[in-house]
Symmetry: C2
Subunit: 221 residues, 2 copies
DNA sequence: TAGATTGTTAATCGATTAACAATC
DNA sequence: TAGATTGTTAATCGATTAACAATC
């Protein structure tokens, strides 16, 4: 299990982007790339790319640059994409089902082991080869199958209620789509929370649309 | 139409969060709040909140703090949430439909005026009181109805193809869910792009889960 | 008035960029 | 070898935090 203590959030958040672009280079047959070329394409500086990568090791070669496929594999490993962390999805409504269909968990370090909902109309349906189970069995399920992570596609109130139970059952990471800052509840706990605030995201677009001046396009976000 | 030129991305991205918390304060009957109390709840420093707000005006009062509902309204106005920018959705698959059901565009500065897809199986269906139209009519639709923004829930290749056409037709903002950094294509244009990279988001969770040390919970993201 | 809290200026901290010796 | 490009150290820039006079 890799450990990189001194890595800042800013650096960490750029890694998936690097990974994505490197994957694209592979598909288009690019075998090697210099930090200068990479920077040009991805919209960053060459310094930043070299600085970022140097946190994890020396992956390049002077006078040559970086080998695309091996750098891709290295970053994948750093991100833990070669792991199979057991993950469950809670809330198989519109959004939950969309995420199930849209994401490829296997290629992102996770393995989906359970889907839960409360609505009798969806219970028992099959999604991604999994029957949708009743949320009442969640606690017992966790005791038996020990999910490491949970995707929360449930309303705010349900998230507030369920999250602490899951943490007690050993869940250590949340991908949270409820309109609630779950991270604040676990400030001191050994729990990782990735809040996806789609509303916030749309509001920033509204701001920029209504204030269209220079801050045109932000390549990072 | 409000204009705030000197506002950095970091400040801008915190506004929706302030707005969300203020809304919650209103619901729970909190009428006023000091930057110190607010900071404690939202997980920032009081300095930062005051500094951020001061970019837009003096909304507080010495010795009193901020009036919750008027600050809420002010930030909503700054974000342009009281506007009705015409917006279209392209790609009524799983994700597109989830977004239609999940988001309240009216309260976020937009008005949905059209839904488009290519799949004959979904054409004509009604969602949010709108019939799903064929993408072939997109260009003509834009000429007539002048959408200011577009939500892209289509694959990478389709996004690359359609976005420049829409820009030519006057679309000036994209909420982009395709696995593609659309912002890079419009670096110099007067076009705002908000990329939502759900894959990147999940990968950062994978990283943190596998590197669980201190960087535990990031209250912002 | 006295206490509280703002808006703003100055100090600190961290992240990005530039420079360059090392080396393939 | 000579040219190119890395990894890293130093310089710059921007964002966050602290301090405080102004004032409700």
């Amino acid at each position: 299990m890799p450990r990189y203590p001194g890595v800042s959030t800013s650096v960490m958040r750029r890694l998936p982007r690097y990974y994505r672009f490197l994957g694209e280079f592979m598909r288009t047959g690019v075998e090697r790339i210099s930090s200068r070329e990479f920077a040009e394409i991805i919209g960053l500086t060459a310094s930043q790319i070299r600085q970022d990568l140097s946190h994890f090791g020396g992956f390049g070669q002077q006078g040559y640059g970086y080998n695309v496929s091996s750098l891709h594999a290295e970053i994948g490993h750093i991100l833990g994409l070669d792991q199979k962390q057991p993950i469950i999805l809670i809330g198989a409504g519109n959004l939950g089902m969309a995420i199930l269909n849209y994401m490829n968990f296997q290629s992102m370090g996770f393995e989906l082991i359970g889907i839960f909902d409360r609505d009798p109309r969806v219970l028992g349906r099959i999604a991604q080869n999994q029957p949708i189970l009743h949320s009442d069995g969640l606690s017992e399920f966790c005791r038996q199958h020990r999910p490491a992570a949970a995707i929360l596609c449930i309303p705010r109130s349900a998230a507030v209620e369920i999250a602490p139970i899951l943490v007690e059952r050993g869940v250590r990471a949340f991908w949270n789509f409820s309109h609630y800052d779950l991270s604040l509840d676990f400030r001191d706990k050994m729990v990782s929370v990735e809040n996806v605030h789609l509303g916030d995201s749309l509001m920033t677009l509204s701001f920029r649309l209504n204030n269209m001046l220079e801050d045109i396009s932000d390549p990072v976000s």
